[in-house]
Amino acid sequence: MISIAVLGEGYLFLIGKAILLLIVIPAFSMLIGYSFLLKMMSHMQDRLGPMEAGPHGIFQLLADGLKFLQKEDLMPNGSDRFIFKAAPIVMLVSTFLLYVVIPIGPHMVLENLHTGIFYVLGVSSISVIAILMAGWASSNQYSLLGALRAGGQLIAYEIPLVLSVVGVIIESGTLSLQGIVKAQANGNLFGLPIRNQYLISQFIGFFIFLISAQAELAQTPFDMPLAETEIVAGYMTEYSGFRFLLFYLSETATAFALSAIASTLFLGGWAVPFIHGTLAQVIGPFVLLAKTMLIAFLIFWFRFSLPRFREDQLQAFAWKFLIPLGLVNILITAIFKVAL
Amino acid sequence: MTEENHLSTVSDLFSDTVAHFIEALSEGVLQYESKEKDLWIRVKNSSWAKAAQVAKSINFNYFCFLSGIDWKDNDELGSEKLWQAPSESVESKSSKPPPKLVKIAGGQSRFQVFARLFSIEKKLGLFLKTDLDEKDLVIDSWSHIYKGANWHERETWEMFGFVFKGHSDLRHIYLPSSFEGNPLRKDFSLLARQVKPWPGLVDPEDMPEQPEQSNSKQSNIDESSNNSDNSEQS
């Protein structure tokens, strides 16, 4: 990794980064995310989880992937063929695009977009389109119900997600994720001599972000689009074979991407106090991974312990609680920023 | 039958209840009998719905179940019930007359409908029974008096073929729509038993002696029916 980093600007560097960020990280996070999900769930439930495929079942994803490759690719009667086939790919695109702007080291980010955070919010909602495509094209009632639920839910939680981020922008004064990390590493808490991870000053924002991310990911308690006991598997009901795996993986990979973004925004990203230069370059990814795992742990923890809301309760929670709270948070942050 | 005679056979717990029924239905009450905390009343077919209303008015408001009985004997139905221990079988077949059945609260016809109601306040149970004319299996529905009777009447319709007059929705509840016959009637025989009688009928000791005959199903049936005949005759 160091060698890639010190190659400097140039096409080789770009290719190196591309390989690292597009293949290594998503694959790694899928593998880890998947095993992590299964293992964590099992251990929470007093079980062992997959044990046979590889040591402690770490190759479960490989087995699943290869198995799904061999599965028949079914399409129900009356489905819209093109849209049905395209939906999982759109979903995967949305996931991959999230990884573009996540900085994993001082110089390691595929594209340090100036509009980074804005871009993240925009790209993450592409998945809604994929879900609506999948549900609409399936010619299945459960799918359609699930897709419409997903639509209603994701648009309701897009706003709190946006609002929770505004506080961070006010404090850091930049939209770039790399800039936010640096602002956190160098900044101090409202003029006090304390280093500022935005978790401290923006804990309301963090809280809203975490809940909205949970809802965006359609994880329990917000998993109505997939509610197994109500509408079987929601928009994924008719998907079989590898297309289902694409959906399934992009779900866990998005969970990891959003965790990484949350840790970048609120936990300081790759930065560690008092470590700069090459060392930061080396340990940065691992620091980020640790923080990401922490937040992913939170997300999955909620997922495996809580019952799910009802659709109207979810809407009410978003519109009547999270959005007003987000607005208040912005105003308070702005007042502090202006006053100090 | 005079009313006084009958009241005496009923325990004190139920004297009120029976009096109520006789007052409301008069001729409709045919017979009654009580055992411990349960009361059986047999009413006329025509006063079946009225009986439910009376019961409900005197606080028998818990609907327990409703079903039918087919009193016809059918010996070929319960094949292994014919099987008896060899020593006893001759005796019971030949010497003893078939035991006379004691129907609680009596009855004349082949089919009866009976239902149980319960009074939560008094903690007393009430069975209502009525006879059905075999040629015209029609009876009033309870479904508008006790909501719970709806499904029970559907079940009884399916199982016995009784028609409940006034029931909005008589359709199959358990069996596929295409099912033919009324399974709980005694003349509905179980096909599996006709094709292959209960293996317990055949004395397991005899089996090794005739190994060739067990090849086809047909010979199996013959063999087993022979065996059972033998055991009865010997």
């Binding site: 459960y142 509610a227 019952p307 309760q313 | 349960d38 079903s67 221990a85 509840i173 038993r193």
Partner: protein, 390 residues
């Protein structure tokens, strides 16, 4: 994979097979959704056809019978001992509790009574069946509402009770332990002590679930006020068990009706709640499991010694007559109306199962609720398919 042409034929028949005719109201225009027969919310094979408007249920029609095995007919062609084997499988979660009322009805006709020790053991096993049954409900309700973890704890702790049942009866699932006049055999040594230890664990399990689900705000928001059944409607439909007591009707057959079992010899309480909603039904069942552990504790301490079998002939012939015995089973009132003509088996058995009545309220109860609430209501009414369809 023997004969491909046969399989094609099977496929064709299956495609042509007519579904059961459903309610006319539902067959009309509109969005109609099938829940079941293969659906996670229906605990197996109940099918509920709902007509939707948005996600609001306009009308619902439960279609049962996918598990109909013809029990009432089969009892007519079986001997009493064979019937006991069979009826274990009606309510498959609380198997032992199914045997007891049938055996009691047969004993009533024969005018024998099991000796006290047998009565005690029957009651202990009966309550254990209740715990084994309701603990699944307690976990399953969480799964239905999306919290998947509690059911793992339920199945983990249920094993303690199943082990005990197995060590006493030899059957982990379907004990078939009752005989007319008593029991198959006596308890193994040390069983009572280990029972009391297991009951401590079960109480701990109840506490755990109380913290995990009952006190959870989301769970409460999903359950409170959902599927309210007023007392008079409940009685009218013949609801029983916890469903009835959660509607405020103070009626428990264990307390209110005499039978030859040992409940009257110990000190316990019938819990009644007034709300009549899904939450009350859950809470009540949780309390009942706790109460059952206390009953078992007391009975284990006060169990009398003596024989476990009354004097009955080897080949059982039940004298002619009719008898009805009901007991408070885990799911509600279960009763057997046994008619004997003096043969080796019952002439006719009417099996009054609790779930059948409990489910018959669904068309009334589901009208106007929302699709997610359908699942809450189904889970909280708690039915077992074998118990509905027999």
């Amino acid at each position: 994979m023997s004969n491909p042409s046969n399989w094609n034929q099977a496929s064709y028949i299956s495609a042509q097979a007519a579904d059961a005719r459903i309610n006319i109201e539902i067959e009309s225009e509109g969005t109609v959704l099938n829940l079941g027969p293969q659906h996670p919310a229906t605990h197996g094979t109940l099918r509920i056809v709902v007509k939707l408007e948005g996600e609001k249920v306009v009308s619902a029609d439960p279609v049962c019978g996918y598990m109909h095995r013809g029990y009432e007919k089969l009892t007519e062609v079986r001997t009493y001992a064979q019937v006991t084997t069979l009826i274990n499988r009606i309510d498959w979660l609380g198997s032992f509790a199914n045997e007891v009322p049938f055996i009691l009805a047969a004993e009533k006709l024969m005018e024998v009574e099991a000796p006290p020790r047998a009565q005690w053991i029957r009651t202990i096993l009966f309550e254990m069946a209740r715990i084994a049954n309701l603990s699944v409900f307690l976990g399953e309700m969480g799964v239905q509402l999306g919290a998947i973890t509690p059911v793992f704890y339920a199945f983990r702790d249920r094993e303690f009770v199943l082990n005990l049942i197995e060590s006493a009866t030899g059957g982990r699932f379907h004990p078939n332990f009752d005989r007319i006049g008593g029991l198959k055999e006596d308890l193994p040594k040390g069983w009572l002590q280990s029972t009391q230890q297991a009951m401590v664990k079960m109480r701990h399990f109840c506490d755990e679930l109380e913290q995990m689900l009952l006190e959870n705000e989301i769970f409460q928001a999903r359950c409170k006020g959902v599927g309210v059944i007023p007392a008079d409607v409940a009685l009218n439909y013949g609801l029983s068990g916890a469903n009835l007591r959660a509607s405020g009707v103070d009626w428990d057959i264990r307390r209110d009706q005499d039978c030859a079992l040992a409940w009257k010899h110990c000190d316990w309480k019938v819990h009644v709640l007034d709300e009549g909603d899904s939450f009350a039904r859950y809470k009540l069942r949780l309390q009942e499991v706790r109460e059952s552990t206390h009953i078992i504790d007391q009975l284990c301490q006060s169990i009398p010694s003596g024989s476990i079998m009354a004097k009955v002939p080897k080949i059982i012939r039940v004298p002619p007559g009719e008898a009805f015995v009901n007991t408070e089973n885990p799911l509600g009132e279960m009763g057997y109306y046994v008619i004997s003509k003096g043969g080796l088996g019952p002439f006719r058995t009417k099996i009054r199962t609790p779930s059948f009545n409990n489910i018959s309220i669904l068309p009334w109860l589901l009208k106007g609720v929302y699709l997610p609430d359908v699942i809450t209501i189904l889970a909280s009414l708690y039915f077992i398919l074998g118990d509905i369809d027999r």
